[in-house]
Homo-oligomer: 410 residues x 2
């Protein structure tokens, strides 16, 4: 049996089972099986089941090098950040994140709830499944994790210690590069679909005003320590089933602009929308699915707003936060940042290195080009008009206008 207490090594499935036994997560007589099920880019994920009683857990181990590419070298400190933030989010938004049983700073791994009865939301959306409770669940998660970690609610000295605890230089660098920099010029690392190349060049890279806005937003991302973010809240970071939503993989967590998380949720719902639009053949099924997504996008914004106001009224401790007009101003800046980040995510997933299957799985060339045009056009509008996009209806309006213009353009 290997010694887990001395030096870090990358575990095999066999090691993971031995590890689980070593830390007494299963009874002596358990009969374990293990499978590495990671499909992310940065970690190894072992699912371990006691076949005697179907009890199961997950061990997530940070690899020594990010799996996305050898270019990204990451220190395994991200697993410390992840286990600490999961613990915090579990308190702030109970029921919406997995429970953590153990964090091991030597093996750089976290042991947590197995959520195999859930499905990765992106995968489910690719099958065009609907989750009518998602908007309600995710907005509770968003309001609780974002507002309840801000200076509006947290005592300021304590908040500064949290900022310090979650300084996350390496993971933030990935975002700064992949989201805020590379998509805005002809960077060799970009991967633009050949049918969209001309459009990207003309409409994105040649638009000096847009490119300038991206720089402002990059500095906002790097300097605005507003809320403790998840930092990577796309539909691949959400486990879902009809009656349950669990947010996972918060290793990008750091103090940043609250709108970052909300904008990512919105953009990834728009990818699902584009997918449904161009891959569902039956009109009735398609309309039904598209309507579900429109409702969900609207609800995410509108329910966020409602719950934000309610939570603020109940929980704000900062004296000046009670000044007339301040809550409205503050929410306004969050919605502005939400629109901007929705735009950035829409652009970077089409132009940059990391793609989403919602778009890349669209087989028909012209359909994919149109789907990409919608994302690019909407993304650009979200960024340029971010000051005036405030309600669920405003967000839908941007998407539908982009769709219209993609037809005209075709």
């Amino acid at each position: 049996m290997k010694d887990f207490t001395v030096d870090y090594f990358t575990m095999t499935e066999q090691d993971a089972m031995e590890y689980a036994k070593a830390i007494n997560l299963f009874p002596e007589d358990a009969e374990l099986t293990c499978k590495e099920i990671g499909d992310g880019n940065l970690n190894y994920v072992f699912k371990i089941v006691n076949i005697k009683n179907h009890q199961s857990i997950i061990i997530k181990q940070a690899g020594p090098v990010a799996r996305i590419s050898d270019e990204f070298k990451l220190s395994p400190d991200r697993n410390r950040i992840e286990s600490e933030i999961l613990g915090l989010q579990y308190k702030l938004a109970p029921g919406f994140v997995p429970k953590v049983y153990n964090y091991d700073p030597i093996m750089n791994c976290t042991v947590m709830d197995d959520l195999s009865n859930h499905e990765i939301m992106r995968t489910a959306l690719l099958k065009h499944k609907k989750f009518p409770l998602f908007a309600d669940h995710i907005t509770t998660f968003l309001v609780n994790t974002l507002l309840l970690t801000s200076d509006v609610v947290v005592e300021h000295k304590e908040k500064k210690e949290l900022v310090k605890q979650f300084i996350n230089p390496e993971l933030c660098e990935i975002t700064e590069d992949l989201v805020y920099t590379e998509p805005f010029y002809d960077c060799p690392r970009n991967e633009v679909f050949e049918g969209s190349k001309e459009f990207v060049k003309e409409v994105i890279w040649n638009d000096k005003k847009l490119v300038l806005e991206s720089a402002k937003l990059k500095f906002e991302f790097m300097t605005n320590a507003q809320s403790l973010l998840h930092g990577d809240l796309h539909t691949g970071s959400i486990f879902i089933k009809k009656d349950s939503t669990k947010v996972i993989d918060p290793e990008f967590a750091f103090y940043g602009p609250a709108g970052y998380d909300i904008g990512n949720v919105i953009a990834n719902l728009i990818f699902a929308y584009a997918n449904g639009k161009f891959t569902i053949e039956d009109k009735e099924t398609r309309d039904d699915y598209i309507n579900y997504l429109i409702t969900t996008i609207k609800d995410v914004i509108n329910l966020f707003t409602v719950k934000f106001n309610k939570t603020w009224d109940e929980k704000a401790t900062e004296r000046v936060a009670r000044y007339e007009g301040f809550k409205e101003y503050y929410l306004d800046t969050i919605l502005r940042d939400t629109a901007a980040v929705a735009g950035l995510e829409l652009l970077r997933r089409i132009i940059g290195l990391a793609k989403v299957k919602d778009i890349t799985s669209i087989q028909e060339r012209e359909a994919r080009i149109r789907a990409e045009k919608i994302c690019l056009t909407a993304g650009k509008t979200f960024i340029l008009s971010r000051q005036s996009i405030k309600t669920g209806a405003d967000f839908i309006n941007v998407i539908q206008s982009a769709e219209l213009s993609s037809v005209k353009g075709a």
Copy 2:
């Protein structure tokens, strides 16, 4: 002889001399004298001289409790922050900060250059002395310490480690309370001169728009990790003589909005202006001094702008900082924050707990009321019109308009 290596204790003058010998700062046969010369609120400052050769040094020890009042309990970690930032500033702006010889985390003290041949700038200005090189010196200090610690120049992962190193919860809390909160309502801790009370109530506390802006600025201060600030850059934190300017006491240092330091310099020059206006009897002397201050205020803004642009062009490493229009945008936000903070400092020194001698030393009642009115009126304009105050002339214009309106009001 006491043991300095075990536990912290507050040093007497005798202890300080023994300490200096214990760490070998003077030769064996030195004949030392020591005087505690601290007039600040937070620390003990010992000046130690070898009377044989006039060699001298300063030992600055953090008291266990802030001296301003027993209400402020501060951990002595501020001395670690101070010695670390002095070392960094010494590299970034050589010649404009004292050299540090030793930092002792047990005794919580820093040993540094004795600057007794300099004078505290506020004291010198109270004598209406002029320092024609000050604007040139301080703008070099400001551009170098602010721009060269920002994401424009510093590699972003390294910058995040600096943010972490200089998280400064307790000292920031003092600023959040005394500058951003208490001056904007009838807080028991305020100390409003009885002759100004009515004006403060009507023009400041009853102006809901102004009060709302103060809340926005407070959150900006708490969340915008732009540059490594001095954090308390008034004329009492500057040692000066004709040909030399040394910035001291950076214990409030943390990553915050760059305009904070510049705004403090401007406001404190305005206090000197108000003092000169109402305490110099001879018209010619008065006009000459006032003109000197007007030129200095103008130059601080205009030279800052010139040097900022030059340093940016030479030193910016961040790719997106080179986008067309970004430098102008960035400078614009710094000047906006400069105006706002100048306004905040003007208000808080008149309304709040911590006063400046420039104003409190004005003996004649009506003169003091007019001086305070000028500061309050200018302060309010700086905050409300901060978006459009961009040049040295704009800053002077605000001051002169406030002066005019104080005459009309009288």
